[in-house]
Every structure is written in structure tokens, then in C-alpha cells.
């Protein structure tokens, strides 16, 4: 028997560290070769770490939420024959560092004590207790906000005093599902209350309507880890580095919408139905030809703007886990239907969590659209290191004046943000006006 240590692989593109977002195995599990051990997250994508050997898991190299360097030890596996770890080095730092770092590093999951906030003015003891209690289950939440029900080893009986057991029976709660905060996982009255409170948040109980105006003193601590941490970092970074300026213009899309309806009527069946988005993508591709400084990536550390020939179009999309920006690569090579198909494919990949790192990185400019939720005006945040983002607002019929007559027109606003360090206001305005021209006279979209 030997010990085989698997190290964090180099995922490429100069990534030095990744965040551990899920374990698929536990200490003591038998794993087969190629079995997925863990999920790690890079700036963009979730990557699965497979096992290169078969054997029994001896130790895990980190806890979920921990940021690990490439090359650090992910896991130790007991294997047949000689492993790649010397027997003498059994007390390797990585193995013992796992629990130590879990305690010493900023804990990815705050302890209940840290959240209890005893200094909060509590009119009576009960609300404070409830707050502390309700925070307890929060630390069980995984990266995706789901509650981890696996709280004790299979076969382990829940540990609770007779009075807690009795209370659980009264409440109809199975103690095996209740996380215990005490020594050896002992379940306290507070743990049980917290669990009961959480359960009560589910389906509204009969008579709950009477509680509509009840004062609430509970709070829930949601750890910012995984994708949410990435989003938080990126947004903070973009807003800190980039002096944004916004520019909003209204577009008359009456003709565009009519064209879209005609194209859908004629080609919808075989080529797929078009939304407004592919037209906007096409207009953007055409417009950046004349404004190369807008389709660019600004490496502000090096002081270089890389103007991109290709239009790699980021499309901001909402996934269950949070905001993601899949990229339509080489949008300049795609027609309307190709754009639509690629957007649909990427959206599905993002929704199902299967989007690859390549599909989630390398954009040169981004479009953000919330469709019917688009509002009148937005001030989108630039997807750093890009220098521009085009926001699409809601399309709506408005009374407009044409030749002295009030007429109903389909109107839609474009709300865009630009990096004022490298894009001047006039150029930004001209760029949007050019897009407007394409969209208001859609035939020009197809003139080269």
C-alpha cells in the first residue's frame, strides 16, 4: 500500500489559484480512476478534478470555499503498490494543513458565534437567541446556496439530550436531519429551534396569514463564496478601475420589428425564430468597424489598449448561481440566425452549468439585455478589461411625432457605458448613433 497525492492541476491561461467549490468524495471513500473528486472554480468556469488513481481517500487538502494554489495537494489516496508520497512523509504539511487552514484561514463559513452579534440591542433575550439560532443552519449552505443535509456520518446517531429529543418528537422533527453545533455534533435546543424555524419558512403553515405583520428579528448570513465571490470581485474591480460614463439614446425599431416579424414568418420554421438581439449584435459588429477603440481590451496595468479585429461578443446572462457572461466568438462571421443559435446554445450551457472556460472568457465587448424587464434606462457595469458595454432596454409602443403627426412607434432605448479613460464622449455618441442608424433602417444591416 502506498500513498498517492493528487496536486491541483494547472488549468492554463496563467491561473495561479482556484477556489474549491465542492467535494464529491469524503475521507474513507473508495474512488475509481477518473472518478470526479472535486470541483474547482477559476475566474470563469467550474473545472472538475478527476482522480488519476484508484484507491481509498485518506485526506482532503482543503475545505469548500478555500482558495488553493495550483500545485498544492488536493487529496491523498491510499493505492495498491507504491504511491508518490514517501511513507516517512506521512505527516506531510498538506495533510495536516487541511484542518488547520480551515480553522486559521478566513473561514469560508462563519461560525454561529461570530454571527450572534451579542452587542445588538435585544429588547428581550428571545429574539437574540432566535437570531443566533437561525444563523446556525446558514453555515451549512453550499456554494449554490443549497442546504447540505449530510451533516453526520451515515450510521451515526444524532446526539441530543432527552429534553431535546422530546422537543423534537413534539415538533415532529427527525433529529438526524438537524445540524448539531455542540461538541461531537451534539444538538442543542437552539439548534432544534433554528431547524424548526427554517422548516417553518417552507410551505406556509395554516394560520400563517396572521403572522403577516409580525415583527421579525431573524437574519440569515449567506456566505459570499464560489461564483458569487467571483462576481463580487469582478464588479468591485470594474467600478474601482473604470471611470464609467453612460449614454442613452432612443431607437425607433418599428421597421426592425416589422422585418423581424417577416423573417420569422418566412424562415422561422427552418432557421429558428429571431429576437431583436441578433439584429443588435449585427448592428454592433458593423458599428465597431468604424470605432475600433470601442471593441478593445484595456490592459491598464501595462497601459495598452488592445484593439481587437475579431468581435467576441459577451452576452450577459442570468444563471441560477448568478450573473455569467458567455461569449459569442467571432460575431463578425455570423449572420442573424447563427448569432441567435449561438446565443441560445450558450444560454443553455450556462443554465445547466456546463459552460466551459473558453465559452466564458475572452470577450471584446458586451451586450446586456433583460428583455421585457429591460426598463427605460440602465447604467451597466463594463466587463473589465473591455471598454464598453451596450445595454438594451424594453421595447414599447410610444406616441411619437412624425411630420407633425402623433403616431404610434415601437421604441427602444440603448443604455451604454464606456471607459472614459480610453473612449471619448463624442466617439461613444457617434458609435451609438451609428448603431441607431443601422437599427432604424434595418436594410443597411445587410449592405456592405
Amino acid at each position: 500500500m502506498g500513498i498517492h497525492a493528487i496536486k491541483m492541476p494547472d488549468i492554463g491561461e496563467g491561473i495561479a489559484e482556484v477556489e474549491l467549490v465542492a467535494w464529491h468524495v469524503q475521507v474513507g471513500d473508495m474512488v475509481a480512476e477518473d472518478q470526479i473528486l472535486a470541483d474547482v472554480m477559476t475566474d470563469k468556469a467550474t473545472v472538475e478534478i478527476p482522480s488519476s488513481v484508484a484507491g481509498k481517500v485518506l485526506s482532503l487538502g482543503g475545505v469548500v470555499g478555500q482558495v488553493m494554489a495550483v500545485g498544492s495537494e488536493v487529496i491523498r489516496i491510499e493505492v495498491e503498490g507504491a504511491g508518490n508520497v514517501k511513507e516517512g512523509a506521512a505527516a506531510a504539511p498538506a495533510a495536516s494543513a487541511a484542518p488547520a487552514s480551515a480553522a486559521a484561514a478566513p473561514p469560508p463559513v462563519p461560525t454561529p458565534a461570530a454571527q450572534a452579534k451579542p452587542d445588538l440591542p435585544a429588547p428581550v433575550a428571545a429574539p437574540a437567541k432566535a437570531a443566533a439560532a437561525s444563523s446556525a443552519p446558514a453555515r451549512r449552505e453550499g456554494a449554490n446556496g443549497a442546504i447540505t443535509t449530510h451533516i453526520r456520518q451515515p450510521g451515526d446517531k444524532p446526539i441530543a439530550s432527552p429534553s431535546v429529543r422530546r422537543q423534537a418528537w413534539e415538533l415532529g422533527i427527525e433529529l438526524q436531519f438537524v445540524p448539531g453545533s455542540g461538541p461531537a455534533g451534539r444538538i442543542s435546543h437552539a439548534d432544534l429551534e433554528a431547524y424548526a424555524a427554517r422548516a417553518a419558512q417552507g410551505p406556509v403553515a395554516a394560520g400563517a396569514a396572521d403572522q403577516r405583520y409580525a415583527q421579525r428579528n431573524d437574519e440569515q448570513a449567506v456566505p459570499v463564496i464560489g461564483l458569487r465571490r467571483k462576481i463580487a470581485q469582478k464588479m468591485q474591480d470594474a467600478k474601482r478601475r473604470i471611470p464609467h460614463f453612460a449614454y442613452v439614446e432612443e431607437i425607433d425599431v418599428t421597421e426592425l420589428d416589422a422585418l423581424r416579424a417577416k423573417l420569422n414568418a418566412r424562415y422561422g420554421k427552418e432557421r429558428g425564430r429571431l429576437t431583436v438581439l441578433p439584429f443588435i449584435m449585427r448592428a454592433l459588429v458593423l458599428a465597431v468597424r468604424e470605432f475600433p477603440q470601442i471593441n478593445a481590451r484595456f490592459d491598464d496595468d501595462a497601459g495598452v489598449v488592445n484593439r481587437m479585429g475579431a468581435v467576441h461578443l459577451g452576452i450577459a446572462a442570468q444563471s441560477e448561481a448568478g450573473l455569467m457572461v458567455p461569449v459569442v466568438r467571432h460575431a463578425e462571421t455570423r449572420d442573424l440566425w447563427s448569432c441567435a443559435a449561438e446565443v441560445a446554445r450558450l444560454a443553455e450551457a450556462v443554465r445547466s452549468g456546463r459552460a466551459t472556460r473558453e465559452e466564458l472568457s475572452g470577450s471584446s465587448i458586451t451586450i446586456t439585455s433583460l428583455g421585457a424587464l429591460g426598463g427605460i434606462v440602465t447604467t451597466p457595469v463594463i466587463n473589465h478589461p473591455e471598454v464598453a458595454i451596450v445595454g438594451v432596454n424594453r421595447m414599447v409602443e410610444r406616441p411619437m411625432i412624425r411630420n407633425g403627426m402623433v403616431v404610434a412607434r415601437q421604441m427602444m432605448n440603448l443604455s451604454s457605458s464606456f471607459d472614459h479613460r480610453v473612449v471619448d464622449g463624442m466617439h461613444a455618441a457617434e458609435f451609438i448613433q451609428l448603431m441607431r442608424g443601422y437599427l432604424e433602417t434595418p436594410a443597411t444591416l445587410f449592405v456592405d
Binding site: 432527552p162 429529543r165 461531537a184
Partner: protein, 467 residues
């Protein structure tokens, strides 16, 4: 036939039945309890209480006789004798006070007690033959039927009770102390009574078919008891099979492990080879309830396989302990009253009142290993305990078993004089889910035997102070 109606009918007035009755009455359930003999069951009448009374008397006599010789304490007594008839009267007085107390408690709570023998008709109907022969039998109909008929002593085939062959019941009311007593069975009942008789002056020989005394306990725990038997002069034959009485009826024929037969002269033979659930002779069979071996099968709420027919105590099998029956009885009453309850103790402590006493709660090291737990264990000897020294009882130890990973205590064992009182601490720590650190961090009063509990926990943690 007169027919009475009640909500809850309890058959058996032992510790399980009477506790269930009191609790049910407290909860406002109309309750009737049927008992053919004196209230209190085996425990109060022919078990726990009378045996402890005799153990106390025998100890006192033994101690006094010890003072007639060389006494390290400097106490000198000129001659000592015992009037066993008076001892039994004293013991009967205690039993009468306790059973009378049970009767008063039932009356106070409004439980209707019917003196008579129950015969089950169906799951909701029971006929009672009243104890007074002149009265007519009565029929009781109920919504809930609680079976608490207890257990009976197991006899040896080919050696029925009668004549010189007695059960523990007769052994607890001796008219005189026999010169030679043979005890069949080295379980806790046989050894408790064997030691009593030895201390009262009988020549005692214990015969056991298995290879160890107290076969349910591990070697370490049993050793001080074996030593004590040797010191007291109790003969122990292990691995012996009992063949029956000899033709003259004055000796027990036995066969040792090699097949060699011999005879053990006996004025009395106490057969104490165990107890079996009382499942026959009162109509229980016709309910066709699911069984588990010789016991009634019940779930964790003491429900039998028939709706609203409940069973508790010895009738439901091992461990046959009064405190288990009481807890079950209390629970069933509460369930019937609409409360949500389960019988889910972490541990049920068991005490063996031999000299020295053995107490166990939870898992022994071997049982923990069998259960697949990775455990550590440590023991603290009474030889290092000040209070034990002042009591002249250095034999024995306290042992703790705890999980290696989180130090959760999963078991306690102790052997030594007076350790039965430690069961409270053992059960409490187990039920509360205490860890070694919890017990080690609790200040235990000095000088007491209980300090050994704390020290055992500390020793398991690697830092006992007094060893």
C-alpha cells in the same frame, strides 16, 4: 357477568404496569389495572428490593463476624449470630411498605385496581377471575390494552422446582440457612444470592455451563468478583453441565468439560439460569401477536402488532430491567394521551449487586468495536482513590469508552464496592451526549468514589492526575 369499561386496561402491576397506570391517570385517562398478586411485581416482591435487603443484612453479618477475628480497624466483637427468621421479617417489612406505597399511589391518582387474574378474550376485552373466590368473575372492556405481565423464572429440564430445588423466589425467603447450597447459573441472580448465602454461613458451590462467571460481562470487569468469590470461599465450577439430582435426591449430578461426572452434595439447589417472558396461561396466545424469540415484538413506541395493544417490560424481552419497564410504561401512557414519544434511550444502565458491584451503561470496548466505532478507553483503579481506601475496598475501577474522533462518551463500566450509585452519573453523561472533556472538566467532590469517573475521563484524554 359484570362488564366494566375503561379507556386503558393494564395487565400486571409490576414496575412497568403501575408506573404506566400512575402516568395515565395523571394525564386524565380512565385506567384500570389488574394484578393477581401483590402490587409491585417481581421487582418489589421477589426481585430487586428483597434481594438488596438480604444483601445488606448478609453484608452486615459478614462484617460483624469479621470483627470477631483480627480487625485492622481495631473493632472487636465477641461472637456473632444471626436470626434469619428475623432478617426475613425485616425484609418482608420493607417489601410491605413499598408495595403498600404503590397501592396508595395508585389510589391517590384514581387508578382502579382489580385484584385478580386476567384472561384475554380479544384485543379489547379481558375477563378477570377475582382473587376472592366468592365473587363472580368480571369482564373489562377497554380502548387500549397494555400488557405488562413480566417474566417467570426459567427451570431446568429434568430438575423441576420443588423439594430441595428452589428458585430465587424461595431463596429470598429462607426459613433457615442451608449447610450446603448449590447454585446453578453464575449470572447476576445466582451470584448475588450465592454470595448472600455464603455470607450467612452456607457452603456455596456455583455451577456454570459457560467458561466464565457473569458471561455477559468482559473479563476485566468480572475479575474482581472472581477474586472476591475465592476469598469468600465460594466454590465455582465453570464449564459444568448439570445432569439433575442424584437418586437419593441429596446431591446434584454434574459433568465437567472432559465428560467426567461427579456429584455435588446439596441441602438446597438454587436454579438461577434466567428468566423468560410470561406469555402463556392468560390467553395472550390467541391474540396471535408477532413475537421476537420468546418475547412479544414491539416497536419503539411499545406497540405490538395489534392496534392499541401495547406491551412493556420483561414481556418484551431483554434487557429485563425494572427501570426499563418504568420508562416504557410512562411513555405508553403519554402516547395514549396524545403526546409524541419514542423509546429511544442512549443507554440503559444495568447493575449487578455482587460483592463487589458491577455497573455498566452503554458500550464496552468490545461492543464498541463490534459496532464499528473507533474508540479509545481508559480505566481508573480504585486503588488510587482516597475514598476507596477509607472504605477498605481497593478492588475495582471505573472505565470509560469514547469515540476517538470526537471524544463522545459511548459507554461506562465500573466494578467495586458501592459503584452502583455511579450509574446515575454514567447514564446522565450518556444521555446528555457528554464528551470526555465534559466529564473531565466537571469538578467531582473529594473524597468520593465518583472522582474515579472524572479521572477515567482525564486518563482517556491522556492526562489523569492521580495515576
Amino acid at each position: 357477568m359484570d362488564t366494566h369499561h375503561t379507556t386503558l386496561l393494564i395487565i400486571g402491576g409490576g414496575p412497568g404496569g403501575y408506573v404506566a397506570a400512575i402516568r395515565a391517570a395523571q394525564l386524565g385517562i380512565a385506567t384500570t389495572l389488574v394484578e393477581g398478586e401483590t402490587l409491585g411485581g417481581t421487582c418489589l416482591n421477589i426481585g430487586c428490593i428483597p434481594s438488596k435487603a438480604l444483601i445488606h443484612a448478609a453484608d452486615a453479618y459478614h462484617q460483624t463476624r469479621h470483627f470477631t477475628g483480627d480487625s485492622t480497624l481495631g473493632i472487636q466483637v465477641q461472637g456473632a449470630s444471626i436470626d434469619v427468621a428475623q432478617t426475613v421479617r425485616w425484609k418482608d417489612g420493607i417489601v410491605a411498605r413499598l408495595t403498600g406505597g404503590v397501592s396508595a399511589l395508585l389510589k391517590k391518582h384514581g387508578v382502579k385496581v382489580v385484584k385478580g387474574w386476567a384472561q384475554i378474550v380479544d384485543g379489547k376485552t379481558v375477563d378477570v377471575t377475582l382473587a376472592k373466590p366468592e365473587t363472580k368473575p368480571m369482564r373489562i372492556q377497554c380502548e387500549h390494552l397494555l400488557l405488562a405481565s413480566g417474566s417467570v423464572e426459567l427451570g431446568l429440564p429434568g430438575m423441576p422446582f420443588g423439594g430441595r430445588v428452589i428458585s430465587s423466589t424461595q431463596a429470598l425467603s429462607p426459613a433457615a440457612v442451608p449447610a450446603k447450597l448449590v447454585v446453578v447459573g453464575a449470572g447476576y441472580i445466582g451470584l448475588e444470592l450465592g454470595i448472600v448465602y455464603r455470607k450467612l454461613g452456607a457452603d456455596v458451590t456455583v455451577v456454570e455451563a459457560q467458561s466464565s462467571i457473569l458471561p455477559l460481562y468482559d473479563e476485566e470487569l468480572v475479575k474482581p468478583v472472581a477474586n472476591s468469590l475465592r476469598k469468600l470461599g465460594v466454590q465455582v465450577h465453570l464449564g459444568y453441565k448439570v445432569q439433575g439430582m442424584n437418586a437419593a435426591g441429596d446431591a446434584v449430578r454434574v459433568q465437567d468439560g472432559t465428560g467426567h461426572e461427579s456429584e455435588l452434595p446439596a441441602d438446597q439447589v438454587l436454579v438461577a439460569i434466567g428468566r423468560v417472558p410470561r406469555t402463556h396461561g392468560w390467553g395472550l396466545e390467541q391474540l396471535m401477536l408477532a413475537m421476537q424469540g420468546r418475547a412479544l415484538k414491539v416497536d419503539d413506541q411499545c406497540r405490538t402488532s395489534m392496534r392499541n395493544v401495547w406491551a412493556i417490560g420483561d414481556l418484551t424481552g431483554e434487557p429485563m430491567l425494572a427501570h426499563r419497564a418504568m420508562a416504557q410504561g410512562e411513555m405508553v401512557a403519554e402516547i395514549i394521551a396524545g403526546k409524541r414519544r419514542h423509546f429511544a434511550p442512549t443507554a440503559i444502565a444495568a447493575v449487578c449487586f455482587t460483592d463487589p458491584e458491577i455497573v455498566t451503561a452503554g458500550l464496552s470496548p468490545k461492543e464498541a468495536e463490534k459496532a464499528g466505532l473507533d474508540c479509545i478507553h481508559a480505566h481508573f483503579p480504585f486503588a488510587a482513590n482516597g475514598r476507596a481506601m477509607t472504605l477498605e475496598s481497593l478492588e475495582g475501577f471505573v472505565r470509560v469508552v469514547a469515540r476517538r474522533d470526537n471524544h463522545l462518551i459511548v459507554g461506562w463500566q465500573a466494578v467495586g464496592a458501592g459503584v452502583s450509585e455511579l450509574s446515575t452519573a454514567f447514564s446522565h453523561s450518556l444521555e446528555m451526549g457528554a464528551t470526555l472533556e465534559d466529564v473531565g472538566g466537571t469538578i467531582h467532590a473529594h473524597p468520593t468514589l465518583g472522582e474515579a469517573v472524572q479521572e477515567a475521563a482525564l486518563r482517556a484524554l491522556g492526562h489523569a492526575l492521580h495515576v
